[in-house]
Symmetry: C2
Subunit: 332 residues, 2 copies
Amino acid sequence: MSSRPSLAQVAALSGVSVKTASRALSGEGYVAVETKARVQNAADELGYRLNRTARELRRGGNTSTLVGLLSGDLANPFYSRLASGLERELRMHGLQLITASTDENPEWERRLTDSLLERRVRGLVVVSTMAEHGHLAAERRHGSPFVFVDRPPVDLTADAVLLDNRGGAKSAAEHPLERGHRRIGIVGDLSRLTTHQDRVEGFAEAMEAAGITGWRDYLLEDAHDVDKAERAVHSLLARDPAPTAVFTTNNRITTGALRALRASGNRDKALIGFDELDLGDVLGVTVVAHDPEEMGRHAARLLLARLEGDDGPARRVILPTRLIERSTTAVH
Amino acid sequence: MSSRPSLAQVAALSGVSVKTASRALSGEGYVAVETKARVQNAADELGYRLNRTARELRRGGNTSTLVGLLSGDLANPFYSRLASGLERELRMHGLQLITASTDENPEWERRLTDSLLERRVRGLVVVSTMAEHGHLAAERRHGSPFVFVDRPPVDLTADAVLLDNRGGAKSAAEHPLERGHRRIGIVGDLSRLTTHQDRVEGFAEAMEAAGITGWRDYLLEDAHDVDKAERAVHSLLARDPAPTAVFTTNNRITTGALRALRASGNRDKALIGFDELDLGDVLGVTVVAHDPEEMGRHAARLLLARLEGDDGPARRVILPTRLIERSTTAVH
DNA sequence: GTGAAAGCGCTAACAC
DNA sequence: GTGTTAGCGCTTTCAC
């Protein structure tokens, strides 16, 4: 439990100045081969390890290699795949990812954002659960780039990587409509989220274009976890008349719906979900798919461009979705 | 893009010394209420934000709030659920998680370990892909606690959270054996991993206890991703005589097997997988289940105990598995 | 209550 | 090639 050796101790042991030791170990500047070897030996002997935070402090400004990610729970495959794509891309550029889960709690998000900024992260990627982001405006003036993912910034100009939620949801509604369904239920996540609102809008657009006006009777919101979703779908199926098809607006809700349908022995209800599922192909679930890892990579690229000095206007990347037709919407 | 204000600038603006500004903002030590307010205003006006790395440098030693996690790819639900459980537990104790993916590459693991240690993380949680860990012995003398998860340390004494791989695999073999299966295939991950070896051992134990000697003919290894696993299962099913049941030793291999079984239209093969699947209940896959999030929480607790000064002998937590019987092993 | 000086571990700048 | 000095942003120590 001895305290960690510093460069000064390595220098003392090898009989050179601190600066020479620094040069020898960092490889920056000229050092005699023999001196270098002596310093290296001393470092090995002491178990010396560079203190990167001290280096970054001295080098000043933007030399940190840390990037923060704020998102919901990593146990949700959407977030973990996003994190995976982001981390890999950053790693290839020598950056490290520090992840913080907000659990969709704005208070946590605020605290964790502060914490990451105090740590002088090089940039921040955020799946925000907050209603507005004006408080971050001051940060941007100090040069910390933000990239918003999945949900756009409000009252703030910043880069964003978003999905075509509206278009995806529209196609999700059109698909059963084309197969003759008229009563299509829709189960959604937290109603305050723009992703949710956009998906409902896209759904509404298709329903209204098909001349269906009563669709709101079959709208259930705030089914934020699998259990709530399962109950919501059960209650939807208990309506009279019952819907003949259900659109679930994200992966957890789809999971809940699958459980509900299985439990109720309902094999003739059509189901279509937003987000691909891990075993969606094996299960045969029709989905509106997209690529969370690709979102992560895009976020990394936007961030890297900013770090390389790009100071152009905020960019907004909208990634497409694609409908994958499987057996849950097959016509019997 | 102006550079970030320092405490000195806040002090200057509010007309006090740096130390008073420090006290006012950190709340440590006595400051007149009025002075405090003046400093706070100046800080707000400048958009001041504490530089936590500078604080930690000055405070010396072990004051960092960073914990590192080294694991395979976060896109694998096993790792992401592990990370989720770990992160939540750490967050409740004011610590932050920095994640690095090794992609099961020892060289990456080594580099990333160095990098995290240079960053002076408070501790390290690692799902190691390396064959031995003697090189970390020096680190432990400097007080950086390590917790090994899923795979034990080799040539190093350290805390570990492991699964009962042998017992779990044994029960996975006994289950189809009890149902009359004699030719049971087994498809495994990288053969160099101890988890894999232990699972094969447990499987072997049950098979040999049942008097079956030729089981190795149906052993396929190094199916490290879903595609490889799918091909492996296809080739297994093509054997003559074909196995009547398959044991897949982790979640991705089970996924591959489900695809292979579905593609080949083979509905009468029994399947049992190690690791629970996201929709395992809906799919009806018999599995040897365990709780990755719980592993993460345990790792956090071991680490926290060390940080609080526990210097007792290395602890080893072995978490149980439990067999969940579902339709893929139902008798027709 | 407040402040001046020193220093955490490192590197930039400028010697020699 | 190598050393000296200063300083990154903060807190500790000890004064007032």
